[in-house]
């Protein structure tokens, strides 16, 4: 005897099998009393299942649709800001700002550093004066840069 057509029985009962398969299952059922009995049980079971599953509690459909509409509206309102359509003027302004920042920032990044001028070199050399801050704070002659420039010499003369 061929294998039992277990998984074919439900499609057989529903008349879904192609003619050749249907014929094969029908022949098997004639020869196999167990499968025939199974098929009858399945038929009863499928008939009873609808009653066994039952019906859900009743629903007020108008209220159901009103709730659904509210939920749909709430969903629309909560669409993320990045997914919302943006006014054309706002989009264009944002794009312009981004473009300006990108071009200006790029130019700034690519510009070479300015060379140090001779005045700044002199000032940097003179900053050595500030190493003795207490002395500098007591001087009353700071108005004249020439005096400050000669301080080192004055100090050495005084010590010497």
């Amino acid at each position: 005897m061929a294998r039992h057509p277990d998984t074919d029985l439900v499609p057989y009962l529903r008349g879904e099998l192609p003619p050749a398969e249907r014929e094969r299952v029908a022949r098997h059922l004639e020869e196999c009393p167990d499968c025939k009995q199974d098929t009858e049980l399945l038929r009863d079971l499928l008939g009873n299942l609808a009653h066994a599953i039952g019906q859900p509690p009743t629903v007020n459909w108008a209220r159901y649709r009103a709730e659904l509409r509210e939920k749909l509206e709430a969903r629309r309102a909560h669409v993320g800001w990045w997914r919302r359509p943006m006014p054309v003027a706002l989009s264009a302004s944002l794009a312009g700002i981004l473009l300006f920042v990108a071009v200006w920032g790029g130019r700034e990044m690519s510009r070479p550093a300015e060379p140090i001028g001779p005045d700044e070199v002199v000032m940097a050399q003179e900053l050595g004066l500030l190493q003795d801050l207490r002395t500098v704070e007591r001087l009353d002659l700071l108005e004249d840069l020439e005096v400050i420039r000669n301080l080192d010499g004055l100090a050495s003369d005084h010590q010497g």
């Binding site: 998984t7 439900v10 499928l46 599953i53 039952g54 859900p56 749909l72 969903r75």
Partner: protein, 187 residues
Amino acid sequence: MEPADEALCERVARRDEAAFDLLVSRYQERAYRLAWSILRNAEDARDVSQEAFIRLYETAGSFRGRSKFSTWFYRILVNLCLDHKRKHKWWKLWVRDDDDDRAETILDRQPAPVNDPVDKLSREETLKALGSAVDRLAPRQRAAVLLRVQEDMATYDIARVLKCSEATVRVHLHRALATLKKTVEKR
């Protein structure tokens, strides 16, 4: 002549509110009943079926018409139900609030009229046991059984809803019905 579901879905994709309302009216009872059969809780069934309609509204543009609208919509619904069950599984172990719904419906079930009260009681008990056994089936087996029994769907359509092969659906149904048969035979 009433417009076909598929044509309505195309209109929903173009944000036609009247077409959406019409589809909701056509499917609300079936969607709610199927969700309830899987979830066994009226409030959850209402929420999940409404969510399925919202998804329908949002994704109507992705319906290509390769399958029937009902199959496409049931796929959304069943997936939401199975997801809901998966997410709330741990919670249901603590709060069995779905028992109330089932108790009501068992009383409401209408067995075939019989004269013998013993037979009637026996039949009611058998149906009750059968209903409980359906609740204990694996989620995809249960979905396959419900789509077959409640929605009278063909194996081909169930396979499309559950996104599996027809052979897999046949196995789901065979195993589910074998389990349910044992429940009946015990009684």
